[in-house]
């Protein structure tokens, strides 16, 4: 899979900006998603209160995450689930591959799980000799195209229907068509027999309820229900931050998530799975294994500003609202998590060295903060990360420039001199090409306001 790297965000963005088709697709998708979200939120008079409540619940959980995780695990295990703890991606993949291999699994069906993309689980399963089939339509499309997802909830948003039609014709032998219903039927048909033949079903988890040990997974297509009902073994993979305290808390989150993500009051299906079936003759898998993934999340608990990153419910609303994402799309970020939330969690999960550009790729407009259902203050997070990165990793020239800047700004005589110097420099030196390549630049005033005031 040709993942772009976060380290080359600037180049990735440049390439994305040159892709006319991509920009058209992004414009349509983000404005449509944004409008639907806006309308859905407007339909609930207590929307703002719900956001505050959701954030308060998340804050409570995160402050006592160890306790809530232990409660969840105890309750899930008492109902027959087996719970595994994975410190990092490699450990998670090893556990999951182990489970599948022990049961001589050949075919694995998967429903959309960002967490498994984060760990690159599919590569590990394939290396262990298994056939992995993504069953969410968007994920199925990008799997066929051998591309990473470009959006948290609509992974194939960067592709036009024509591109998808051509892909299906080439890979699935579908008769050429632009008709979306035809393409959907083709996918449905192709995937049906995979579901029937699968030995293992792997899903993500939207919410894990500590009080009851229940995992909750939401969807529109029905592939999650098939993935989690048909195969004998169901493996549910979740980040440790997915826990919420009480079953009744679901009311708040199930009101916020579908509206924020797709503008729906509820997605078509919610599955509430608590342990394994009671009797062998009942429907459903024989085994449920839940994998809890850390992979850098526990580190984020150390500071209230970074801790809020873990409140994210993966709705994607911030992506649709972001002027940067709207222009460059998800691939440019080089991460499973793009857009505003991606810009703050990618450096924290993958390490700053791998994603140092991302916190700077923002105009700090705050549109993301406005739409976040759990009120994550992403601009605050971006500034926090910049505060961590710049003093250590900023270029020597930039660090020096700001040291000089501080001197100038704290000395009236230096400040006065700098405005004189600025006027001269602007006349004799080429002004920053970065600005003037597309915009004219006003000349520095011949008299500053300070000087005008003196003349009053």
């Amino acid at each position: 899979m040709n993942h772009l790297s976060s380290e080359t965000f600037k180049e990735n963005a440049r390439a994305a900006l040159a892709d006319v088709q991509l920009r058209g697709a992004l414009k349509n998708a983000t404005s449509l998603f944004g409008e639907r979200r806006r309308q859905a939120a407007a339909g609930l008079p207590n929307w703002e209160d719900l956001r505050s409540q959701a954030r308060a619940i998340k804050d409570e959980v995160l402050l006592h995450l160890d306790r809530y995780l232990e409660e969840f695990v105890a309750n899930a295990e008492s109902r027959g689930a087996k719970v595994h703890w994975a410190r990092d991606a490699a450990e998670a993949n090893s556990i999951i591959c182990g489970l599948a291999t022990e049961r001589a699994a050949r075919i694995v069906v998967k429903s959309k799980s960002m967490t498994t993309e984060e760990t690159h689980l599919n590569n590990a399963l394939e290396a262990a000799g298994m056939q992995v089939v993504e069953t969410d339509l968007g994920e199925y499309i990008i799997q066929l195209a051998n591309e990473p997802p470009s959006h948290i909830i609509a992974p194939a948003i960067h592709k036009t229907r024509r591109q998808i039609g051509e892909l299906f014709t080439a890979e699935l032998g579908m008769a050429p068509t632009d008709d979306v219903d035809q393409m959907t039927s083709t996918a449905r048909m192709k995937l049906r027999d995979r579901f029937a033949a699968a030995d293992v079903g792997i899903s993500g988890v939207n919410f894990a309820i500590a009080e009851t040990g229940t995992i909750v997974i939401v969807e529109n297509e029905g592939n999650i229900r098939l993935t989690t009902s048909l195969p004998r073994l169901h493996i549910a993979v979740m980040g440790i931050e997915k826990v919420i305290p009480r079953f009744s808390d679901l009311d708040v989150f199930l009101k916020l998530l579908p509206r924020s993500g797709t503008g729906q009051r509820l997605t078509t299906y919610q599955s509430f799975i608590t342990g394994t079936k009671r009797a062998p003759q009942d429907e459903g898998p024989d085994e449920l294994h839940i994998v809890l993934l850390d992979n850098g999340r526990s580190r984020m608990l150390a500071h209230p500003v970074t801790r809020q990153s873990l409140a994210c419910i993966r709705c994607g609303a911030c992506l649709n609202a972001c002027p940067v994402y709207q222009q460059v799309g998800g691939h440019a970020y080089g991460s499973v998590y793009p857009g505003p939330i991606g810009a703050v969690i990618t450096p924290q999960l993958m390490g700053i060295a791998k994603a140092a550009q991302l916190p700077y790729a923002s105009s700090l407009c705050g549109a993301c903060r406005e739409v976040c259902p759990v009120k994550i203050d992403i601009p605050q997070l971006l500034l926090h990360l910049r505060g961590e990165i710049s003093p250590r990793k900023g270029s020597a020239a930039e660090r020096l420039a700001f040291k000089i800047w501080a001197r100038v700004m704290t000395s009236p005589s230096l400040y006065k001199l700098s405005s004189v110097a600025g006027r001269i420099l602007q006349r004799v030196m080429p002004i920053s090409r970065a600005w003037t390549s597309g915009r004219d630049l006003r000349p520095i005033e011949s008299k500053s306001f300070h000087e005008l005031w003196s003349n009053e």
Binding site: T160, R161, E221, L226, I240, L250, F272
Partner: protein
Amino acid sequence: MNNSARESILGSIRTHLAASPPVDNYPVNPANPVILSKTDPVNQFKESVEAVSGHCIITTNATNVLDQILADLNAKRIAYSDNPPNAHDIFHFDVGVSTAQAAIAETGTLVLDSSCERHRLVSLVPPVHIAIVNASAIVETLDDALALLQQKEISSAITFITGPSRTADIELTLAIGVHGPQELYVIVDGSK
């Protein structure tokens, strides 16, 4: 199992939380009760189901209505949740028929409980799903339904169904009937 990983992760959580400067409690406003529609729950439920492209019939003779629908669909192989076909055969059935233990008026949602019937595949695999729910089992809000489910120990599998299956993954164009049913019929039995 892997206890060292468990202890390591829990330990990491505790250490990092302990390192964190104290923070003010985030202010919480209790959510104001939503003003409900003046329509009675049954009619509101019907409107909500239709708003998500489901069909809803309110009747006092559910059996007749069911027979009529099956006849109209020219259904040949019908799967019933009280005695469902096995997981391989069910893929060849035309219609799945189940009941629902409750329903939510504000969203048009059916609540199906695995401890009451074998609904999981019958309501998912065949291209048409017909569900029968008692009018008296319709609650107004999501909150009500969640409370209802907590009146006893949570069953191992509960499913909420709102309309037929759908996707908008291709150019955000709505396509009905992806992996789940393409048609949903809800029969509201007003006789009970």
